[in-house]
Symmetry: C2
Subunit: 137 residues, 2 copies
DNA sequence: ATTAAATGCTACAAGATTGTGGCATAAAAT
DNA sequence: ATTTTATGCCACAATCTTGTAGCATTTAAT
């Protein structure tokens, strides 16, 4: 099970920020903590801003803050913003169609699993994560 | 949820062959049916042969046949043979460690889902697929 | 005003994945 | 023996993903 690195990064960044959702995070800070290259991180931040999850504050004392409540940011939306969710929707075997009418040989084994995944991605938000435990980054 | 195309192809090929597991399949035939480019398919077939799933018969009237019972070929083994299973084992956030001792913020949401996937891949074999339904390739 | 510290953007570089071309090798049919 | 129809292999090409470099822009502090 794999997301692309780009999605990994996006989740890493936002879930990190979500631990203290009010705070302002300069890119420099995120880069240090999360070990993502400066330029690439900032490119992603731009995408995440455009998607409306965060707002960027330019100039000195600038950085990024959440632009909406973290309980309104679904994982699937995050992935969609940085690389498009379509990729993950399609068929495991690379055929487009997936229905009970026209099932592929993997249908019965695979479909329930995929549903489960889609449920997590569609229903879980940044607020659903467990902030109590100590997380080492 | 996405496997690489390479894994997609491998599953596509073997699950197709598994519908008539005794038959001999020349590459040409597979290429026509499964819409994978000739050269790339044959490269994959070589990997699958080396992994011992199939056996190749060279020369005229040649092709590929299963070298072991399809109930002994697990999905995770197939993926492992063509691109390595490790990629799919790691952390969604791209950190290495995954344990209850050192959970990341996604631990509780993500882990159960991942377990479920690994169960499918590790336990299901080519023989577990549903051959009764009509499958359009 | 000038400087310092931040983000934004665009174009390019490096790497990984996927696809192709060409030729060698093997076996059956003739 | 020769031809035909297969697979095997290697090196290269195209494409996609990821990372970098450089400069423009914005804002606050001085
Ligand atoms: S269940 Fe079968 S048809 Fe549906 S997406 Fe999965 S592989 Fe494709
Ligand atoms: S549960 Fe958390 S620590 Fe474990 S693999 Fe997933 S993201 Fe990584």
């Amino acid at each position: 099970m794999k997301l692309t690195k780009t999605s990994e990064y996006a989740l890493r960044i936002l879930s990190f920020m979500a631990r203290k959702p009010e705070e302002l995070y300069p890119a420099r800070h995120l880069v240090e903590q999360l070990k993502i290259s400066d330029k690439y991180l900032r490119r992603l931040m731009t995408d995440l801003s455009k998607a409306g999850f965060i707002r960027s504050i330019k100039g000195r004392e600038g950085g990024y803050v959440f632009a909406k409540n973290i309980s309104e940011i679904h994982l699937s939306q995050i992935i969609d913003a940085v690389e498009g969710m379509e990729k993950y929707m399609g068929c495991v075997l690379g055929f487009g169609e997936c229905s009970d009418d026209n099932p592929c040989v993997m249908h019965e084994s695979w479909l329930p699993m995929r549903e489960k995944l889609m449920n997590v991605l569609n229903n879980k938000t940044l607020a659903d994560f467990n902030y109590n435990k100590i997380n080492k980054y």
